[in-house]
Symmetry: C2
Subunit: 257 residues, 2 copies
């Protein structure tokens, strides 16, 4: 079997997320597997389903700059041919930006050691029309966020913790302990009003990034304190954390191996 | 009459351009006039059509960061109320970003002294999915543009010229002479592959920016020389200029008075 690693970028606005839900569904994985199947067929291995494993199962509406996936073919194809083949049949909102041959043991999800997600927040009087599908526009009373308080809270998220309190579905019989390397909050020089929160960690639980963002936003609005992060860790109670920030502000930036 | 100047931002992707084409059309002007009419009605001047004059009649698919328009009301309304009223009823892809009271003689198109348009070009192996509706992705053989040649050509466009050769419909009984203050070509630091061409002038003819961009692109691809600009000015012949670059890469950035 020949194993291929690919980097995929997508505008998730009009898709039902990464994970396939059926044969004719509108998911990123569904689209990729359908094309991977046709690709296998052109190499004479017809009728065979090809699994495309993604590093992160992004929710409906979530975007990706550098999602990573892998899949296997029985017959050899040039990486450049594979890339061209996918992009020929994919909708414009999904692009395979890189394909390379990988070791047969490589698995995009199981081998990932570091993932970076970015959450875009727009702060201003009126929403920037070009960001309306790519950034969350909170209804702020003060039209500003206390970024200092958010940064203090972000520091408390960094490190090795049980993130059960920041997760919608706690995994059964599996650890909810993850390591966060960094949480950086910055204001864009280029786009006035754009605030980005970049999370870098070894892995994230279901909805974890969106709940951490919602919690940081509530801190930025003065609705809760930076210290409340410690309380959530102590209690491991989802109800104590902030709201789940909407999916369209979230982007999977990169996956490292 | 109370005259209001407003700055409007829009994602032109799903509209049929600025200029209204009927009563129930999907144009930016049509949307604004319909709301301006309702606004006049709430002030007791019902049944009256309100004209909204835009500084630039952008084509279908063209975007605006800072389109400027003006309209008049018989009764006084606070500028902040007017802004809020428009944004309450406008679709998300159109936002009124500023409203101020203006002198009664102010007319957004007739009084404009300087307009800035930006054309976004994306150069790379695969299109950036987030720019697909906001930048043109030329099918380049070399996957690169000769920016030096384009800059030399851009210099030749600067100044006072008869731009008939760079215009789809030459105005009848009107001058085709316009002044271009600057044409700046730059590569984005932030978005790899994004090349922007910014045109600043006292006014532009129909399709002029898109034809100038198409001509610069052909120069960047080596299909024609920077010197060909002078030949187009000598002949004033549209057929000698380059192709009309597609609308979705174009943005009206600002209008000065």
């Amino acid at each position: 079997m020949y194993n291929y690693k690919m980097t995929v970028s997508y505008d998730g606005s009009n898709f039902r997320g990464w994970q396939k839900q059926g044969n004719t569904d509108n998911t990123i994985q569904g689209k990729l597997e359908s094309i991977a199947g046709s690709l296998a067929e052109t190499f004479g291995v017809g009728g065979e389903a090809v699994d495309v494993n993604g590093a992160g199962r992004t929710d409906a509406g979530v975007h990706a700059v550098g999602q990573t996936a892998n899949f296997k073919l029985r017959k050899y194809a040039e990486a450049s041919y594979v890339k061209e083949y996918f992009n020929k049949y994919l909708p414009e909102a999904i692009r395979v930006v890189a394909v390379e041959e990988a070791d047969e043991r490589f698995h995009a999800r199981l081998c990932a050691v570091k993932k970076t997600y970015r959450y875009n927040i727009f702060v201003g009087e009126e929403m920037n029309v070009f960001l309306r599908k790519y950034a969350y526009f909170p209804d702020l009373k003060e039209k500003s966020l206390d970024l200092d308080a958010m940064r203090q809270a972000a520091e408390r998220l960094v490190g090795i913790h049980d993130f059960s309190g920041f997760c919608t579905k706690v995994p059964k019989n599996k650890s909810a302990v993850r390591k966060i390397y960094s949480v950086n909050i910055s204001e864009s020089d280029l786009v006035k009003g754009l605030v980005t929160v970049e999370f870098c960690g070894n892995g994230f639980l279901y909805n974890q990034v969106r709940i951490m963002t919602g919690t940081l936003l509530e801190i930025g609005e003065g609705k809760r304190t930076a210290e409340s992060i410690g309380d959530i860790f102590k209690a491991n109670d989802r109800a104590m954390a902030g709201f789940t920030a909407p999916p369209y502000g979230l982007m999977l930036m990169s996956v490292e191996y």
